[in-house]
């Protein structure tokens, strides 16, 4: 399946919902959709384009927004779906209905950047050592770790 094929299928199946579709280098594509269209996009990827494998989910702090990047794979192509959410009450819908293997990845995103995953059955705070202060997400850009003096010699 070529890049053009993927492009046309996506445009047909997600009319008007594609915010951006880029192809920066061979076998790498990025697709930006709105938060509300995330699950629909995932379903299209799985059912119509044969992306059977979810590699992982990356959480990222863009500065003014938070975003999650869903990396999907199939033979000959890696496609990343980008979905953004506002900083004030960050949340994204879960995709475990489409890709059950996403459980752990979603929990990780929740921990590291603090995006709440709506509909995830088991979102107890996790990651990080026990007793990690609430509301601190290490991968947010506004959190900096300052080495404690004396701990590290």
């Amino acid at each position: 399946m070529t890049v053009d094929n993927i492009k046309t299928t996506l445009e047909q199946s997600l009319p008007g919902k594609i915010i951006e579709l880029t192809h920066p280098s061979a076998r790498v594509m990025f697709l930006h959709v709105a938060k509300a269209d995330l699950v629909a996009a995932c379903t299209v990827l799985r059912d119509q384009l044969g992306f059977y494998h979810l590699s992982t989910i990356t959480g990222r702090d863009t500065g003014d927004k938070l975003e999650a990047l869903y990396h999907f794979a199939r033979s000959g192509m890696t496609l990343t779906v980008r979905a953004q959410t506002e900083r004030s009450r960050p949340s994204l819908p879960t995709i475990i209905g489409v890709y059950p293997g996403a459980t752990f990845y979603e929990r990780e995103v929740h921990d590291m950047v603090g995006i709440v995953i709506d509909g995830h059955p088991d979102l107890r705070p996790l990651v990080l050592p026990e007793g990690w202060p609430d509301g601190i997400h290490p991968l947010r850009k506004d959190w900096q770790y300052n080495r404690e003096e004396g701990v590290i010699k």
């Binding site: 990080l128 050592p129 770790y145 701990v151 590290i152």
Partner: protein, 143 residues
């Protein structure tokens, strides 16, 4: 005197090891296992790898000590019966190495428990580990 000498001799001749990974990259852990394998065969010195902290004399630690592990490292150390020794294997167990300053690392075994011998290296070669163990035993024999 005679008895003391005998006890000292027995201690030097029979170091039982407990291996603890405090968050290392596995590199040194593999090399510790390699030191027990036919090529280097640590059992020559009477060393055996034990699973229960109650049975061990030497705690062989690797890793820069993650916050989560710091507590457990301490607990394991306390569970061991006296006399006990701690050996830090690998540069990251000695000082934190490339993990220095990461928010979840304490940086070195000695930030949590006292260490008797340091074996730097990344990874510490099995022969470097052997060398360290031999040096520790020689020092115990003397003092």
């Amino acid at each position: 005197m005679a008895l003391e000498k005998l006890v000292k001799w027995s201690r030097v001749s029979s170091p039982w090891l407990l291996h603890f990974n405090s968050g290392s990259c596995n590199g040194c852990d593999i090399e510790i296992v390699a030191a027990l394998m036919p090529r280097y065969d640590l059992e020559r010195f009477g060393a055996l790898l034990k699973a229960s902290p109650r049975h061990a004399d030497v705690l062989v630690c690797t890793g820069p000590v993650t916050r989560q592990q710091a507590d457990r490292l301490k607990r394991i150390y306390d569970q061991m019966a006296e006399p006990k020794f701690v050996v830090a294997v690998g540069s990251c167990a000695c000082s934190g190495e490339v993990f220095r300053g990461l928010y979840n690392c304490m940086g070195g075994i000695d930030s949590v428990i006292p260490v008797n011998a340091y074996i730097p290296g990344c990874a510490a070669r099995p022969d470097a580990i052997l060398d360290g163990v031999a040096k520790l035993l020689a020092a115990l024999k003397k003092g």
